[in-house]
Amino acid sequence: MAEEVKENDEKQEFWRWTESNWKNPDLKWEDAKIITAGIDVGSVSSQAVICADGEIFAYSNMRTGSDSPESAKNALNYALEGTNMPESRIDYCIGTGYGRVNVPMADRSITEIACHARGANFIYGNEVRTVLDVGGQDCKAIRCDEKGKVINFLMNDKCAAGTGRGMEVFADLLSVPIVDVGERSFKIKEEPTPVSSTCVVYAKTEATGLLRKGWEVNEVLAAYCAAMAERIYSLIERIGIEKEFAITGGMAKNVGVIDRLMKIIKMDPMKTKWDTQIAGAVGAGLFGYTLVQKGKGRK
């Protein structure tokens, strides 16, 4: 059920995803030579992935609590739940994401840029060349090669425009549950001119002006989704867009922004059977595997 957006401190709660865990029924971890774990502690969600000889054996996807080490532990325990695997069996663990330096069980940390590229290569296949990740507080664009190695990247976490937070501010301003923003932005007669201010503070003022002029809420939503799509496009343009194109992160679920973005890019985003939110943790787990194989994964 969509909840009321207003008057709630935990606005991120409104992303429509549920905490989950999964294990691969066809994999026997007991037979694996090398077990690695990747833990991605993001500003909104945390994931843990367990890899058995470079294959995904189990994972979890949870909300990040106020405490990063605690969130990392919870995510790992939840991934291990029902697998019978003791935590001590993990040969090497890598932390990534916003809270990567606060993952107590990690043997080392790797940036989310490197992990996202590597993870996207696994969950989307090696045809992926451009990865866009729009999270709660940042926007990352990465170009990678067929091995999932980063070739060109940028990350914008300075400015709220083009991040999940920017959209939350608008959902709040217009009293629309964030989960409904995408669909409602298409319930309009005609595509409006995008909101012209990049800065979220000024865009809010601009939107208030549009409402006064008699615009309907859905039209304002459409104008902001379109502005967000343009903004994200202007960021990825800097690194160049090469086929195939994949989108991860919370914003991937907002059709209002993504459909408009894909119209600008003139491409279809790649599809995957995996939960796109685990990309960073998968990459971390796989890097662990490579490092152990190369003899660099000693504790």
Binding site: Q137, K158, C159, A160, R165, G166, V169, S197, T198, C199, V200, V201, Y202, T208, G209, R212, K213
Partner: protein, 257 residues
């Protein structure tokens, strides 16, 4: 000859009436969403204050973000030129001028005649404008007018990590939860904002005298922080700094008449 300067800013629209180089009337209105109406209100208030009729006015200079909605204007005056002219009018020794308004920040290097030599602008991002302090006042639940004076009671140096006003709001909320004194948070906010303006001023060079115009000039906390970071003893601010650009526009209109 009587000239009028109208500055249609993001927040307020200011009008001044100038007669023979003397300010004889002022008027202000909230800009709101109908800029043309705000201009009308502000203009009429200034005429009334000066005790004159519209027919007494020779030329009108218009400036500010909403200058296209100043239908009365005979001359459109670029904001940089207006602030340079105003600084020179108030303080003939002015060489560096900064204008910090609601939505923009500017720095201009001028010569002894008030001619623009160089300038730098920060626009379209709330981090370097009065809007930043306003957004933080809301997060802090403090009246905007109290924000500046509070700063003077604090001697703490708390760094702010977030640059963006939206992210800084969460940081402020975090500081409140950590039981940080409001005056210390307010100082952190002003220090952060001043450092961005200082960086802009340094791009054109700091030459004395340094003059500040714009509404933020009334904020003692900001002024204090700016002075410290610029390492100057005196920052020259006119009596009604918010009217600075309007004064400049009126003076330019007089010259071009």
């Amino acid at each position: 000859m009587i000239t009028v300067g109208i500055d249609c800013g993001a927040k307020n629209t200011k009008t001044v009436v100038v007669k023979d180089n003397k300010i004889i009337g002022k008027g202000t209105s909230l800009t709101g969403f109908d800029q043309a109406a705000a201009v009308e209100t502000s203009y009429n208030a200034a005429l009334k204050d000066a005790g004159i009729e519209a027919s007494d006015v020779g030329k009108i200079g218009g400036t500010g973000a909403g200058m296209d909605d100043i239908k009365q204007a005979d001359v459109k005056v670029n904001e940089v030129k207006a602030m340079a002219k105003a600084a020179n009018y108030y303080f003939p020794n002015a060489r560096t001028v900064t204008d910090v308004g609601a939505e923009e920040g500017r720095a201009v290097k001028i010569d002894e005649n008030g001619k623009v030599i160089d300038f730098a602008i920060n626009e379209k991002c709330a981090a370097g404008a009065g809007a930043f302090i306003e957004a933080m006042a809301r997060a802090l639940e403090v009246d905007l007018q109290e924000m500046g004076p509070m700063v003077l009671k604090s001697d703490k140096e708390i760094p702010m990590n977030a640059q963006c006003a939206i992210f800084a709001e969460s940081e402020v909320v975090g500081l409140i939860h950590a039981k940080t004194e409001k005056q210390d948070i307010s100082k952190a906010i002003h220090d952060a904002m001043a450092s961005r303006i200082v960086s802009m001023i340094r791009r054109i060079g700091v030459n004395k005298d340094v003059v500040m115009i714009g509404g933020v000039g009334l904020n003692p906390g900001f002024v204090d922080s700016l002075k410290k970071q610029l390492e100057i003893d005196e920052l020259f601010i006119p009596e009604d700094p918010a009217y600075g650009a309007a004064v400049g526009a009126a003076l330019v209109a007089a010259e071009e008449a």
